[in-house]
Symmetry: C2
Subunit: 226 residues, 2 copies
DNA sequence: CCAAAAGTGTTATGTGTACACCCATGA
DNA sequence: TCATGGGTGTACACATAACACTTTTGG
């Protein structure tokens, strides 16, 4: 046994937190207070502490920087480790993807920005790439999982659920066929036996909550994507 | 600016290297020479050096420990960062998944072991979990990508390609339907206009090479999995 | 009355699946 | 002639896509 020791690096977590507001897919970003990239927008993130797991660190950042104590959905996205991605030191970052319902208000210095407004550029570090990966993951998983429900506040109508798909995918879906597809997929949604209060024109809709199924068989296919 | 400094941890890469040999899905493992887990089997891995990217580190380990200089396929799998996963120090590990053709021989101290022989237990650290994640990723990606070709040495027959799917998925596929499915998927395979030499009974088969397509539309569905 | 959103019915089209059958080779 | 693997044809079940139509609300 020698006195050799491995190189050490700093490890962070960065969060892609998505929700749908006013028919726009929006992401939570914060303005950086210090260099590098002072004044630029960046994804919420933080260093991983010695005795916490990566997921625990992600939940801590979610609570501290976004005020979210119960993320509807949280999954690991990918790890980014290019040597020059942070000019200060060697930092590798494990990104997490969180999908939350519309409810959260702007927290601290963070705010919601439409993904399309960022247009693939403008975030600090390699966060444009991380955001793009997160959005693509979310789009893909709507197809074969029940993840769209994570964007909805319960109870929800099938119209609200459909607008989630349409917003995230950026396409229009056929209304009657969407309804049949959702209802014929076991465990995707469960009717709670109530209707919306009439109030804004149109027939009151039945209300649903998320079902127990995680994976969809067969998948909900998106039309040739936009 | 204060003198605060982030916690630092060691970062490693671990590799799940899969291939198909004799109709078995096998993984490359090495016997550990030092504690902890001395004598146990573990996935090939190594520390990430200061100035190399994670993927570069994975390629270096692939070359050094497995003698593979041109992996057919290499992708990031997931990052594992539980605080107690390595008793010596805080180590987080980014796992990579590599799929290679049958050709490679056993290298150095590493050897091929059927995944089913490990039976979900027996590897050092949390490598059972990493292996399970890698196998599940490979199984899933056969469905919607052209990844099965990465297991084949070119040129290959449709029968060989079919046995890849059957071995990885652990199911039997309908022979005529598999053929039509593969040939009707644009860019999956390309005929090279030659046949196998007759020699072992049965009609000589046409030979193919991998096509340019990465994603399959529509997907190759696996029967209810085994 | 019309507009808007929910919800139902029907039909064409395409894809997956099952199975019968033929072809080319070795033993 | 049989066994083995390659390769073709065909019919049925099922899912999607397109569109016409009805229901229930507000203006």
């Amino acid at each position: 046994m020698t006195s050799w020791a491995p190189d050490v690096v700093a490890v962070t977590v960065d969060l892609v937190i998505l929700t749908v507001r006013d028919d726009h897919l929006v992401v939570l970003v914060a303005e950086r207070q210090w260099d590098p990239f002072r004044g630029s927008l960046a994804l919420p993130g933080g260093f991983v502490e010695q005795s916490e797991s990566l997921e625990y660190a992600a939940r801590r950042v979610l609570a501290q920087k976004a005020g979210l104590n119960d993320p509807g959905h949280l999954e690991q996205l990918r790890t980014y480790g290019e040597p020059e991605r942070d000019s200060r030191m060697r930092v590798i970052s494990t990104a997490y993807l969180s999908l939350v319902p519309q409810l959260p208000e702007v927290a601290n210095l963070a705010r919601w920005v439409p993904v399309r407004a960022l247009g693939g550029g403008g975030l600090a570090f390699d966060h444009d790439r991380i955001l793009a990966d997160g959005v693509e993951r979310a789009r893909a998983k709507l197809e074969y999982t029940s993840l769209a429900g994570a964007f909805c506040q319960e109870p929800f109508t099938l119209g609200e659920l459909r607008r989630i798909y349409e917003t995230v995918w950026g396409v229009a879906l056929n209304v009657p066929n969407f309804r049949r597809k959702v209802l014929s997929t076991p465990g995707l949604v469960e009717a709670i036996g109530q209707r919306t209060e009439p109030g804004s024109g149109g027939r009151p809709a039945q209300l649903y909550r998320r079902g127990g199924a995680g994976l969809l068989h067969p998948a909900m296919l998106r039309p040739e994507s936009a």
